[in-house]
């Protein structure tokens, strides 16, 4: 049965956008914790710690997010967990975000002049104090713009969760399209909602980047 594309469908699609946001938030929070660990490991003095972090980044940046999603999805069965699209998508996107944020934040930590660390060491600050009070606050300023930029990439990435059957924005569009067969209208609407979510973040990232550049050149 083919029915008309109605306001109820638009509401259904818009309420599914909530899951896109929830999934993005989970992946971003998880990725922030993972990414910070990766960035600290990557800049640490332990040779093996640095190597493992570099390897982690290279593997996750060198393979498609779609494959990562499939691997985690089918991997749940391997470790004896029930197959659950939300869990699989959350885990895969968290790992993905950890690698990308880890790389962005490593760059930010390394951009803080080494004299800062040396001065903090000379003041007998311990590693945690040095990081918390001296290096990370400065790295944070450098990292903000690219981090917001990555958030856009992450929100777009959650659309792939639809392929393993998780009903977020894109999957809701597919469901409505299957019932109404108005692909031009349906996928146009879906694209418009993604655009409304992502564009302000892109503008914000660009604005912060210009401000940062001006602050550095001054």
């Amino acid at each position: 049965m083919i029915r008309e594309f109605s306001s109820a469908d638009v509401l259904f699609i818009m309420s599914a956008a909530r899951w896109t946001l929830i999934l993005s938030a989970i992946a971003f929070l998880g990725g922030a914790i993972g990414g910070l660990s990766i960035a600290l490991a990557r800049t640490s003095h332990g040779k093996w710690l640095r190597r493992i972090a570099a390897w982690f980044i290279q593997v996750f940046q060198g393979t498609p997010l779609l494959m990562q999603l499939f691997l985690v999805y089918f991997g749940l069965a391997v470790v004896g967990l029930p197959i659950n699209p939300l869990l699989a998508a959350a885990v895969a996107l968290t790992l993905h975000a950890s690698a990308y944020l880890g790389e962005i934040w490593r760059g930010a930590i390394e951009a803080v002049p080494s004299g800062q660390t040396e001065a903090a060491t000379a003041l007998a600050l311990s590693y945690p104090d040095r990081m918390r009070h001296v290096v990370l606050p400065q790295a944070l300023r450098i990292a903000t713009a690219p981090t917001v930029g990555f958030l856009v990439q992450l929100i777009k990435g959650t659309s792939l969760a639809s392929i393993i059957g998780f009903t977020e924005l894109t999957r809701a569009g597919q469901i409505v399209n299957n019932a109404t067969f108005k692909p031009f209208l349906v996928f146009g609407t879906v694209a418009a909602i993604y655009f409304i979510l992502c564009w302000p973040l892109s503008l914000l990232a660009r604005h912060m980047e210009t401000r940062m550049r001006r602050a550095i050149t001054r």
Binding site: V59, G62, F74, G75, K156, S159, G188, A191, S202
Partner: protein, 222 residues
Amino acid sequence: MYQFNFQPVVDSMDLLLHGAWLTVRLSLMAMALGLIVSVLGAIGKTSGIRPVRWLIDVYVEVIRNTPFLVQIFFIFFGLPAVGVSMSANTAALVALVINVGAYGTEIIRAGIESVPQGQIEAGRALGLSPAKIFRYVVLKPALRNIYPSLTSQFIYLMLTSSVVSVISANDLASAGADLNAQTFASFEIYLVLTIMYFLLSLGFSALFAVIRRLFFTYPASR
């Protein structure tokens, strides 16, 4: 306890290798056409004509702020509704070119703007034609300046191309999906696919390093 079974993957390795070749071919075509779109887009954006600049801005922002998956759905399922239909393989290539063209436009525009004005004036003083100035004085140094970001965008394009399997266009991920439908050795298949994509990305990195050595290592400043 899960029993690993790699036999189906080993038996169908030729199928997967063929799929990998299709992914390489699709990516190379999308990179070449995408580079053309990017250069044209960047020329349009740095030229003075306002409506052209405005149109390119819309194109770049729309593509960069919507997921590739939705773009390919729109092209493959949405466009036939307004009379533009194409095969899955064509739709995949078109979607990839449009996608990478938007990122490439921004990257190359930044490269063109990084070329100092004095260099263009020097070219003019030497009596070079505008076309030659663009080719040798603007585009080549611009491409060298943005070579790392452009090539990492190209590798990202190759990874993204796995998404074309959702419309059953022919590539490595599709070959894996077909094999999965026949054998259900899902985890093993996707593990091998992931490793193959990783090797492809290493291969492309190596290729781009060679191209850089061959064409972009002339003296930068003296």
